[in-house]
Subunit: 241 residues, 2 copies
């Protein structure tokens, strides 16, 4: 496991698993201005790519799992999913950690305002990330692109990773072929983005966390599928039927 700090709004103690690559202390308010600059978005993507590359070059890693921690990060996820799929904020925005009806309305409005303010252009994925994304979304884009570059599957966890996969696909179409939907989060944007990515989720257990747990739960399924394809005898081979 590798924990990458690209944007925590505070200082973190050193830890053997923590890689410090802070781009900035949290993003700006996407409904008032850009979440970050284009250069910051690129740096966060590269930080994610760097961690993935280091893991892959360390040897023995044949699967990557994305996860995230970030306060309020289902808001930029919803905005990204709306920008890349065309679904309105009412459909892509959910309750996240469990907000009430009034806060949900506010959240939908924030996403609407952000889309109106920036008119994000899906043909410019890095620009969209800078306008309405989060630093963790950007870092996960880097992980996905690096997995695809090395031909290594990347299991997504949660709606933040789903949104990042949409951005990655917009940057490099073939990256979508290396992505596996570990599970489908209960967030409404998850269903919309996985459908857009044409990814059937391996698990649908009404989970809402995105820290990698759902991706991790799917690992035995991916391993079993790989072994079935590679090792299982056909009925013909064993002389049946």
């Amino acid at each position: 496991m590798s924990v990458l700090d690209v944007g925590v709004a505070g200082e973190l103690e050193r830890h053997p698993l923590l890689r410090a690559a802070k781009v900035r202390r949290g993003t700006g308010d996407l409904s008032r201005g850009p979440a970050m600059s284009r250069e910051e978005a690129a740096r966060a993507v590269m930080a994610g790519a760097g961690v993935a590359e280091e893991l892959l070059q360390s040897g023995g890693v044949d699967l990557l799992i994305t996860g995230d921690m970030g306060i309020a990060n289902t808001t930029p996820a919803a905005a990204l999913i709306s920008a890349f799929t065309g679904h309105p904020p009412e459909e892509t925005t959910g309750r996240g950690t469990g907000i009430d009806e009034a806060t949900l309305k506010l959240k939908v409005n924030v996403v609407k305002e952000a889309l109106e303010l920036h008119s994000p252009d899906p043909e410019d994925p890095l620009g969209v990330l800078a306008q309405i994304g989060g630093l963790e979304h950007a870092a996960i884009v880097g992980v996905i692109l690096t997995g695809a570059l090395y031909g290594i599957p990347v299991i997504l966890d949660g709606v933040v990773s789903n949104a990042a996969a949409l951005v990655a696909r917009a940057l490099a179409l073939h990256s979508a072929g290396y992505v596996i939907a570990g599970h489908r989060s209960a967030e409404p944007g998850a269903r919309i983005s996985l459908r857009a990515l044409d990814l059937p989720p391996l698990l649908e257990l009404e989970m809402r966390l995105g820290e990698g747990t759902g991706g991790l739960l799917a690992v035995p399924l991916v391993q079993a599928a790989a072994r079935t394809l590679a090792e299982m005898a056909t009925l013909e081979e064993i002389g049946v039927g």
Copy 2:
């Protein structure tokens, strides 16, 4: 793993994992008469119970997974599911190993004829098993009842196990509380029986085999759920939120 022969219509070589408890060589044609006698059904149930009990008493077993092998055994499964849920054969009968449209019609008719011939009474579950069940269905009923007796969860695999769980619940209502749906088979009877049992399947991967593979794939999920309930700290415990 333990393989129990309750009704193979032939001789099997000895094998360390094979337990011989043949009740009869295959069942009778359920559309023409009873599949087996009441006593034979009871013996098959007891054979399944015996294997489960032996496994549980050997120590270290805290989970049972059911599986089956049997030719044409989705036909009695469909008949049992119709008998216990009231859904007509057209809804409970599926393509099994992949039969064509004409054979499917024949299969639906066989199930219809069986139900008309026997008028199975769900209040007499052993009688229903004898009339329209299979020896493997009966043996799995024994495994489920024994799991419930010992307070051990039983993961079901496939539509044959789903049908057996309906019989087990009719015999002992509380047994349904120990049953976990490992996955939902693509057989239409699976959806109907799991809904009747109020069991959300852990996996829905369009699998059709019932030899235990789907149940086995669900084991890491059950283990993770148990560990989450038993070992995971709450936000309060770690001083967050």
